[in-house]
Every structure is written in structure tokens, then in C-alpha cells.
């Protein structure tokens, strides 16, 4: 490929600095002794201690985790089903509406999704809490899952599935033993995406939750509206750390499996 010009190097360096400096500052100042977040007063981990002693934050974190696990799991099942229908379903009544309902939530402003679900729940007289947040999160994240999974299904060689059916597998077995292992990476990344979206959501959760359920982003929101706080810096550092470890581990795992697949191919070629 072409060589990088000085201009390329400068724009990459400045761009990456722009992306990472704000988070770096946040991380560094979470270890600041002083309550004044912009004045450095020495190294300390006391804000982490305060954070772990803060029951409200821990409760909110627990609610968020439960909502994220449940909603992303249901969303993965529904989203995979929807992807299957979109790619393999052929023609059926209302197909255009169906694909419209899959793609629309991806671009819908959160305030509108949140408002519409809240009005529905109130209209039905449903008590708002963890359950309604789960319903809301499942609805928008299943659409993301279905986009991720259907992009994989499109490239999937259908002959493999037909071969299994010809060899006597039931459709369910063919799906379980042939299709699922092949689309598994997409299903897993769909789940991860749904999980992250749910962990991250503030607006839809604010609309659909009741007094009984406060999620972590809602808790963070109510305290950052009052300005910068060292406890939130500590919390942010923990979250940034978890994500970094997760993403780096996932990308290493993908790289490993790609290397393994290549090696398997080479071995197969040699023995053949």
C-alpha cells in the first residue's frame, strides 16, 4: 500500500488523541485525592471506596445488570428468529411492514421510542419497573441483533443445510447442528451488542421505569446534572476498564480462531 504522508500521521495522531484524551483524563482524575476534580492533590483510591460503600449505586448496578442479561437474551432469540424470517422466510402477508419494523427502531430517536412505550404502558395500566424496562430494551435491541445475524445468514451457504436435511436430519436438528454453529459468531456479537445497548441506555429507561427501578445510567445522570463528581469518575473508570478488557479479549479470541481455522485448512489441504 501507499506510504503514510506526514499529514496522514498528524491527522491520525490528533484524531486518536481527541478520542482518547477525555477518557484518559477521567481515569487519571478518578485517583485524585481532592474533591475538586480539576485540581490534582495526590494519589488516592478513596473514591472507589466511597463508591463501593454507596448502596444506591450498587442497587442501580444490580438492576441494570439484570435488565441487560434478560433483555439481551430474549432479544437474541427474537432477533435471530426475525433475521431467519427476513432472509429465508420468502413471501408472506405483511413482509414489508415486518422489515420496516425491524429497521425503523435503529434510526428512531430514543425520546420517541421511550415516550411511545410509556404511553402504551400507562394506557394499559401496567406497573412500571424492571419488567417494563426489559420489554422496552428487548424491543429495540432485537432489531440490532436481527441486522447483525441476517448479514451473516445472507452469506451462509444454504446447500449445507439442505445436505443435512437430505441425510435425514429433522429441520430442527439441521438448524441446531449445522446452521447455528455457523451463524454463532454473529449471534454472539448480536447478544453483546444488545447487552451493551441495554447497559448504556438512559433515555428509554427513564421513560419506561417506575419509582421501584433505577438503572445505573439513570443514577449517573441524576448526579452528573449537578456537575463533575469524583465518585462518578471512579465509576466511569471501572466501566471503561471492563469494556476495554472485554473488547481486547474478544478481538484476540477472533484472531486466534481465525489463525486456527487457517491452520486447520492447511492441514486438511496437506492430508488430502
Amino acid at each position: 500500500m501507499m506510504r503514510l504522508s506526514p499529514f496522514n500521521i498528524v491527522s491520525l495522531t490528533l484524531g486518536l488523541a481527541f478520542l482518547y484524551l477525555p477518557m484518559l483524563i477521567l481515569v487519571i482524575y478518578s485517583f485524585n485525592e481532592s474533591k475538586l476534580v480539576t485540581v490534582w492533590a495526590g494519589f488516592s483510591t478513596k473514591w472507589y471506596g466511597e463508591l463501593l460503600g454507596n448502596e444506591a449505586f450498587l442497587d442501580a448496578a444490580w438492576v441494570t445488570l439484570r435488565v441487560a442479561v434478560v433483555s439481551s437474551t430474549i432479544a437474541t432469540v427474537l432477533g435471530t428468529m426475525a433475521a431467519y424470517v427476513l432472509v429465508r422466510g420468502g413471501r408472506f402477508f405483511g413482509r414489508t411492514l415486518f422489515s420496516g419494523m425491524i429497521y425503523a427502531p435503529l434510526v428512531m430517536p430514543e425520546v420517541i421510542t421511550g415516550l411511545s412505550l410509556l404511553l402504551l404502558f400507562i394506557g394499559l395500566g401496567v406497573d412500571r419497573g424492571v419488567m417494563t424496562i426489559v420489554l422496552a430494551h428487548t424491543t429495540f435491541s432485537m432489531c440490532f441483533v436481527s441486522v447483525v445475524v441476517s448479514s451473516r445468514l445472507v452469506t451462509f451457504d444454504r446447500a449445507l443445510e439442505e445436505a443435512a436435511l437430505d441425510l435425514g436430519a429433522s429441520p430442527l436438528d439441521a438448524f441446531r447442528l449445522v446452521t447455528l454453529p455457523i451463524i454463532a459468531p454473529a449471534v454472539i456479537s448480536g447478544w453483546l451488542l444488545a447487552f451493551t445497548l441495554s447497559l448504556d441506555d438512559l433515555v428509554i429507561a427513564s421513560f419506561t421505569s417506575g419509582p421501584s427501578a433505577t438503572t445505573l445510567p439513570m443514577k449517573i445522570w441524576s448526579s452528573v446534572r449537578l456537575g463533575v463528581s469524583p465518585e462518578i469518575n471512579a465509576l466511569s473508570t471501572i466501566l471503561i476498564g471492563l469494556v476495554t478488557v472485554g473488547v481486547v479479549a474478544a478481538s484476540l479470541a477472533t484472531k486466534q480462531s481465525a489463525i486456527r481455522a487457517k491452520r486447520d485448512e492447511q492441514t486438511a489441504a496437506r492430508t488430502a
Binding site: 491520525l12 405483511g94 402504551l120 428487548t138 466501566l239
Partner: protein, 305 residues
């Protein structure tokens, strides 16, 4: 399964297909489409001092309900300056930030596409990583940087570039910075993938035929990455238009964005019918860029075939 005859097997297949279609279909109907119908209906209702704070409701009977609906809230929206200004300023803020994101993102995507092969995976990961970290935290990070005694002012005062601290936080400038920062990956990725597919020999050909490097860039690279630019711009513009977190946290009281107005109308004023009317109009405005975006994606998919 083995005992079933051919017809039985087919019937099982039909039932399975039906279940596969019906379950996600009904879910989306109940929790995506019907809620919109509810919003639309409430936008035509009147405010009432009860919970739910609007009339008429379905309990009054279908006919009374239908005859009680009118476009009063929409008329109200056109009469009150606030809403007009909020729509116009949302469009303006979204447009300016999209252009700024393009200005920051294009050189980065360009440099990534020219980088040696072994760097690319790492660079790509570095661009995607912030996308996985909490949106709220990334916006919050700028509060400490842009505030009066924040890091930006400290730095600028230290270098002697300014004598007085600048007011950046709680202005539209802070909102632009926030949008560029949080949506940058959405701009870089489609442009990078367009540039990555670009055939380097075309640029060489242009240069051999006497184009300067800048001219070759302008006449060859930019037009060939046009689809990536368009996709990136829509991916930033569409969510920026309805943004709530960024204007609330970084913008000031004078920053008008429709997402913020809707949130406040609903939670502070508790005027549900007007909030619903605001949402319906925002949706109507969004349909245009969404349709254009879809068309661009379709054209690109067709071009690839």
C-alpha cells in the same frame, strides 16, 4: 418425526414457519407499532387534569373518542415560537455537527486506509472501542474539560494563548464538540470501508496523466468514496437530530434541541398531548433523511452486485 407421513411432516413445517414469523411479528406490533398509534392518538387529544392527563380516552366509547380528537396541539405548535425555533435549531446543530464530524473523520479514515496492513486491525479497534463504552460517560468526560476552570481553560491559560478563561460549557460549541466526539466512529467506519476498496492504481493513473496529488485526491478519491461519505453523514445526522443527552449536559439554557424540549414538555410540564405532537412532527422530519439514506444504501448494494 420418523413416524410422520409426508403430509404430517409438511404440516409440522408450516406450523414451525408460522411460529417463526408470528412471534417476532406480534412482539414488534405490540411494542413498536401500537405505541406509535397511541402517540398519534394522544397528539390529537386535549390535556386534562387527571392521570392519564389527556381526554378523551377509549373508556368514553369509540365514537366520542374519535369526535373529540382534533389538530389543536399541532396548531399550538405552529403558534408558539419555542417549537419552531427548536426544530430549526435542531436541524442547524445536527447539520453543523455532521459537517464538523466529516472534517475530523475523513482525514482519519483516509490515513487508516493508507496505513500498512498490519496496523489496520489495531487502528480499526481503536476507533470502534469508544463506541462500546458508555455514551453517557463519554459525554460527561467533556464537562470536566470544557468547564470554566476545566482542563481546556487551564491548558490555554498556561500556554498564554488566552488571558481570560473561555466560556465553552453550556454553549452550542460544547454541543458540537460532544456530537463530533460521540458520533465520530459512525463517520469513520463507512468512509474507511469505501476508501479501503478503492483501487490505488486509479490514483496512480491520474497522477501519471498529469494530475497533482491534490487534484487526484479531489477528482478521483473523493468521488469514489462518495457513498461512504453520504452514509457516514446520515449515520451522524439522523441520531444527532433527536439527541437529548448531549444538549442537556453540555448545552446551555439557550441551546434548543427538540429532543430536550420533548423530554421537558413531558416530565416537567406534564403536557402529554403537546409532547406527543412534538414527537409526531420530529418523526415526519426524520422520514426524509431516513428514506434518502435507505436509497443510498440500496444503490450501493446494487452497484456491488
Amino acid at each position: 418425526m420418523g413416524q410422520l407421513d409426508r403430509n404430517g411432516r409438511r404440516r409440522v413445517g408450516v406450523v414451525r414457519r408460522l411460529v417463526l414469523i408470528t412471534v417476532p411479528y406480534l412482539w414488534l406490533l405490540a411494542l413498536f407499532l401500537i405505541p406509535f398509534a397511541v402517540v398519534f392518538k394522544i397528539s390529537l387529544s386535549d390535556i386534562a387534569l387527571a392521570i392519564p392527563p389527556y381526554t378523551p380516552t377509549a373508556k368514553d366509547g369509540i365514537w366520542t373518542m374519535l369526535s373529540g380528537l382534533d389538530f389543536e396541539n399541532f396548531v399550538f405548535l405552529t403558534e408558539d415560537d419555542l417549537y419552531w425555533k427548536a426544530y430549526v435549531s435542531s436541524l442547524q446543530i445536527a447539520l453543523i455537527s455532521t459537517l464538523l464530524t466529516l472534517l475530523v473523520g475523513y482525514p482519519m479514515a483516509y490515513a487508516m486506509a493508507r496505513a500498512p496492513g498490519e496496523w489496520r486491525a489495531t487502528l480499526l479497534m481503536l476507533v470502534i472501542l469508544p463506541f462500546w463504552t458508555s455514551f453517557l460517560i463519554r459525554v460527561y468526560a467533556w464537562v470536566g474539560i470544557l468547564s470554566g476552570e476545566g482542563f481546556l481553560n487551564q491548558f490555554l491559560l498556561w500556554t498564554g494563548l488566552i488571558a481570560e478563561p473561555l466560556t465553552v460549557l453550556n454553549t452550542n460549541t460544547a454541543v458540537y464538540i460532544g456530537i463530533v466526539y460521540t458520533y465520530l466512529p459512525f463517520m469513520i467506519l463507512p468512509i474507511y470501508s469505501a476508501l479501503d476498496r478503492l483501487d490505488g492504481s486509479l490514483i496512480e493513473a491520474a497522477e501519471d496523466l498529469g494530475c497533482s496529488r491534490l487534484k487526484a485526491f479531489w477528482l478521483v478519491t473523493i468521488p469514489l468514496s462518495k457513498n461512504g461519505i453520504i452514509a457516514g453523514c446520515f449515520l451522524v445526522f439522523i441520531p444527532a437530530l433527536g439527541e437529548f443527552v448531549i444538549p442537556s449536559l453540555l448545552g446551555g439554557s439557550s441551546t434548543l434541541m427538540i429532543g430536550k424540549v420533548l423530554f421537558e414538555e413531558f416530565f416537567s410540564n406534564r403536557d402529554w398531548p403537546v409532547a406527543s405532537a412534538v414527537a409526531v412532527i420530529l418523526l415526519l422530519i426524520l422520514i426524509i433523511p431516513i428514506v434518502l439514506f435507505q436509497r443510498n444504501e440500496q444503490r450501493q448494494a446494487e452497484a456491488e452486485q
